[in-house]
């Protein structure tokens, strides 16, 4: 994965306008530690490194693949490329739910140069977190899964406006590591 500017331009190809912002922001002098795309699964907020996201799609018709692992929803054609779509709910062992108008497929760069589609409930926005807003799993320790990189605690609120934020209701982003998450089962 590189920081090649060309890569950046393909990210928002058919995604939401929100994803577009960082391209210019990343040129600012302020050191940005992590750029993350936040999304919701089963009412919890997760995030993947923005670099690993190629595109965000509305859910196309998915062709089921018999005999495939349970978390594989099927395959889709992304402008002629056959792409496997996996259900992030199932990967994270969460209850399933029906798709609605907010459901999206994130095209994520997986190990082995494969691009995998991940079904998520809703895409939120891009975050740029400073170093002190991220707690890495290694530091936190404990019983975190291999695919969890750490936890992000943005100083500004995620979903609501400023007034919703108070000490007891701090937002938490679970930072996922696409490598272990999407490694072949």
């Amino acid at each position: 994965m590189s920081d090649d500017p060309k890569r950046q331009t393909i990210v928002p190809a058919s995604g939401s306008a929100a994803v577009r912002a960082p391209t210019s922001a990343s040129m600012l002098a302020v050191p940005i530690v992590r750029e993350l795309l936040a999304f919701v699964i089963a009412d919890e907020t997760y995030a993947l490194p923005l670099r690993s996201i190629r595109e965000i799609l509305k859910v196309p018709p998915i062709t089921g693949v018999p005999r495939a692992p349970k978390d594989v929803l099927g395959i889709i054609s992304v402008r002629g490329r056959i792409t496997t779509v996996r259900d992030l709910r199932r990967l994270l062992k969460m209850p399933e739910s029906a798709t609605d108008k907010h459901t999206r497929v994130l095209l994520v760069e997986a190990p082995d140069d494969e691009v995998i589609g991940l079904l998520v409930d809703r895409v939120l926005q891009v975050y740029r977190l400073d170093e002190d807003e991220v707690e890495l799993a290694a530091v936190v320790g404990g019983d975190m899964s291999e695919h969890v990189m750490g936890v992000g605690r943005p100083r500004r609120s995620i979903r609501g406006s400023e007034e919703e934020q108070d000490e007891g209701n701090e937002e938490i982003l679970v930072l996922l590591d696409p490598g272990p998450l999407l490694r072949r089962s």
Binding site: T63, G64, V65, D112, R184
Partner: protein
């Protein structure tokens, strides 16, 4: 269609491709005022050969057309007609006509030969007078007598251009004359134009022969002598005018002004000398020695390649497929042997041998795929012809820049690419590149640039078609899409620039009126996209209003296009490669019997085991009154796969499933059926094997472990 006929088509196609390429060079040379005689000769020879073989195979129109064109070329060769853009137009028109006549289903009336002959008539106004006489040259009359008309023409041309003429006398052994001549030609290539070889008047003696080589060269005589002699024995002499020393001023030999109304041929001050082929075609009977050597030379120049029908390669590929089945059968037998304790060692050896077999098989497969590869340059040459034509039609000045013509892709891809590329290029010239005036107003050079770039990137080939024209206006694109009801207002409000550009690929977007409104592009862009997708490729667009447009096509290097039977099982589409399918029949439920828990039917006297695909794939069966049996066979083994419906036969491109699905058995890949539908392609031999094996194991009383 007979093999002979196919052979003719293939050869004719090759000649036409070479002709187009040479005409393009000629076009370039004409513009630069530096037309090399051997290029015209090359074109003449191509047309002549085409005429010959067309006549032989009964393509009368083609032959007649080639004949008229040959006359024009002969006049060009002999300097009776000047090469102008008008003449080039007719030459290009001729090649275009050949192409049409050879096209699929073309009849003899596809081209109006009379019309064409008139075009030729129009441009071939012969120049009159202005000839330089050769009589004055200090050449023996016996020499002048044997010169062909072409050779005389070359002598005259060089004279009128003031290029000094020389006579080189060499002595060659009769046994090595061919190679000696070849060497001489090679040495002369960059410094002189060889006009002819003649046996010396003095003759040779015994095993040796003296040759007089007439040549024209701009470089000083001393240097010329050194280059040509190169260690051998040779005598160089300047040919002057009779009675005058060799220092004659050239002005005296300049032709009088032309009476012709056509603008005079550009007279370059220094003309780079050009090598001339030693095989002047079919012109009288020159000196016999020359003929012998010329024949020998042309024999040696036969290329080290063979021409192969692509279908033969397809056949070889199928054989490789069959061998793969044999390999898996051997592997299966090996497993059985291994089960016997006392034969274990034997099984290990067999396994090792089979692994070796597998490796070689892979090599064979790669080799065949490699043979199918052709350079994209073949296609680029064809496109260059069209670019020139379209540019002239639209009064645009276009320069073509090509890189990566040597990039190789599967022959089939090249074929399938030509239409989409043609479309893109026509659009680029038609709507992308502005007229010279508009360009100048915009501060651009009047000549537009169209680039075709190809390069390999991993397992893919990338093709870029880029122009420096007007580009596309996203706002106008969105407005047009709204007007046509292709997108909703809300979508239009939040559309990104990139998405706006991609609107051009929407079916229904591209209509004639749309282009005039937009002065943009859009003739059948959805078709372009569909065609490229069908090849397993993708097309991306980039454009900046005012500065140009770029299309990037990414294609697989090789293609696996197969014919497949589309079927429906439990409401889903599947494709079965037709090579595995023997037949498809209606399932007669009454005829189904059960043998040891297995469903079978009787098909023409033999028992056919059935496999219900919905059960095999654990899909929820759908209610259906009629079902079908697709009989698949691998070698002698057959299984009838029960499906809900048959959806017809279709050529599909198999695309590999992602690596994350590499452990899933039973599928050879997937294919894009268009409109976002994707169907899985069954691995018929694999499934058949699986079904039969589980059956065998059942008979042996062993539980299937899958």
């Amino acid at each position: 269609m007979s093999d002979v006929h196919d052979e003719f088509l293939a050869e004719a196609q090759e000649i036409i491709e070479a002709l187009s390429r040479d005409l393009l060079f000629l076009d370039q040379a004409q513009k630069e005022g530096n037309v090399q005689p051997d290029l015209i000769n090359e074109v003449f020879r191509g047309v002549h050969t085409l005429k010959g073989i067309a006549g032989m195979f009964g393509f009368q129109t083609l032959s007649a057309m080639a004949h008229t064109l040959e006359d024009l070329l002969d006049d060009l060769r002999l300097g009776r007609v000047d090469l102008s853009q008008e003449v080039l137009d007719v030459l290009f028109e001729g090649v275009e006509g050949f192409q049409r006549l050879l096209g699929e289903g073309a009849d003899e009336e596809a081209v109006d030969v009379k019309d064409f002959a008139q075009s030729i008539e129009r441009v071939s106004k012969k120049r009159e007078g202005g000839e330089v006489t050769l009589e004055d040259l200090d050449l023996d009359e016996s020499v002048l007598a044997v010169l062909t008309e072409y050779e005389e023409h070359r002598l005259r041309t060089n004279l009128s251009q003031g290029t000094p003429l020389y006579r080189l006398r060499v002595r060659f052994s009769l046994t090595t004359i061919d190679s000696n001549l070849e060497e001489l030609k090679e040495r002369a290539k960059s410094v002189a134009e060889i006009i002819t070889y003649l046996p010396s008047v003095g003759g040779g003696d015994g095993d040796e022969i003296d040759l007089d080589v007439l040549l024209a060269s701009d470089i000083p005589a001393i240097e010329l002598g050194e280059v040509l002699a190169a260690g051998g024995e040779a005598e160089l002499e300047r040919i002057g005018r009779k009675g005058v020393g060799p220092e004659t001023s050239h002005e005296a030999l300049m032709p009088p002004p032309l009476e012709d109304e056509s603008p005079g041929r550009p007279m370059p001050t220094s003309r780079p000398p050009a090598p001339v082929d030693t095989t002047p075609p079919e012109r009288g009977a020159p000196a016999p020695q020359k003929d012998i050597s010329a024949d020998a030379l042309s024999l040696r120049s036969v290329a080290n390649t063979v021409r192969v029908d692509i279908r033969k390669l397809d056949h070889l590929m199928n054989v490789v497929g069959e061998l793969a089945i044999v390999r898996s059968a051997v592997a299966r037998i090996t497993e059985k042997i291994r089960a016997r304790e006392e034969l274990r060692q034997l099984a290990i050896e067999l396994h090792r041998v089979n692994r070796g077999f597998e490796r070689h098989l892979e090599e064979l497969q790669e080799g065949i795929l490699d043979v199918r590869m052709v350079p994209l340059g073949q296609l680029f040459d064809k496109l260059a012809r069209i670019i020139r034509q379209v540019a002239r039609e639209h009064d645009k000045e276009v320069r073509l820049l090509v890189t990566g013509a040597e990039t190789e892709v599967d022959k089939l891809i090249v074929e399938e690419l030509s239409d989409p590329l043609m479309h893109l290029i026509r659009n680029a010239i038609d709507h992308g590149i502005e007229s010279p005036k508009v360009r100048e107003l915009a501060g651009k050079p009047s000549e537009g640039i169209l680039s075709l770039n190809a390069y390999q990137k991993g397992n893919h080939v990338v093709l870029e078609i880029e122009d420096d024209g007007a580009g596309m206006n996203e706002e106008l694109l969105v407005q047009a899409a709204l007007r046509k009801g292709l997108i909703a207002q809300e979508a239009a409000d939040e559309i990104t620039a990139q998405d706006a550009l991609e609107l051009i690929f929407m079916p229904g977007f591209s209509t004639r009126s749309a282009i005039t409104d937009l002065s943009g592009r859009g003739v059948g862009m959805d078709v372009v996209k569909t065609n490229i997708n069908r090849l397993g490729g993708v097309v991306d667009v980039w454009s900046e209003h005012g500065s140009g447009t770029k299309f990037t096509i990414t294609l697989p290097v090789t293609l696996a296009i197969i014919s497949a039977l589309l079927v429906r099982v439990a409401g889903r589409d599947f494709a079965i490669p037709i090579t595995s399918v023997q037949e498809a029949i209606l399932l007669d439920r009454a005829a189904v019997r059960t043998v040891e828990g297995r469903e079978v039917i009787s098909l023409r006297g033999s028992t056919l085991p059935l496999c219900r695909l919905d059960r095999l794939f654990r899909l929820l069966p759908v209610q259906s009154d009629r079902r079908f049996v697709v009989v698949c066979a691998v070698g002698q083994r057959r299984v009838g796969f029960v499906v809900d419906a048959l959806d017809g036969q279709q050529d599909i491109v198999i695309k590999a499933l992602g690596k994350s699905l590499s452990n899933v058995r039973g599928f050879a890949g997937a294919t894009d059926l268009g409109d976002q539908r994707v169907a899985l392609v069954l691995d018929a031999p694999g499934l058949l094997e699986e079904v039969l094996r589980s059956q065998e194991l059942q008979q042996l009383g062993i539980e299937a472990h899958e």
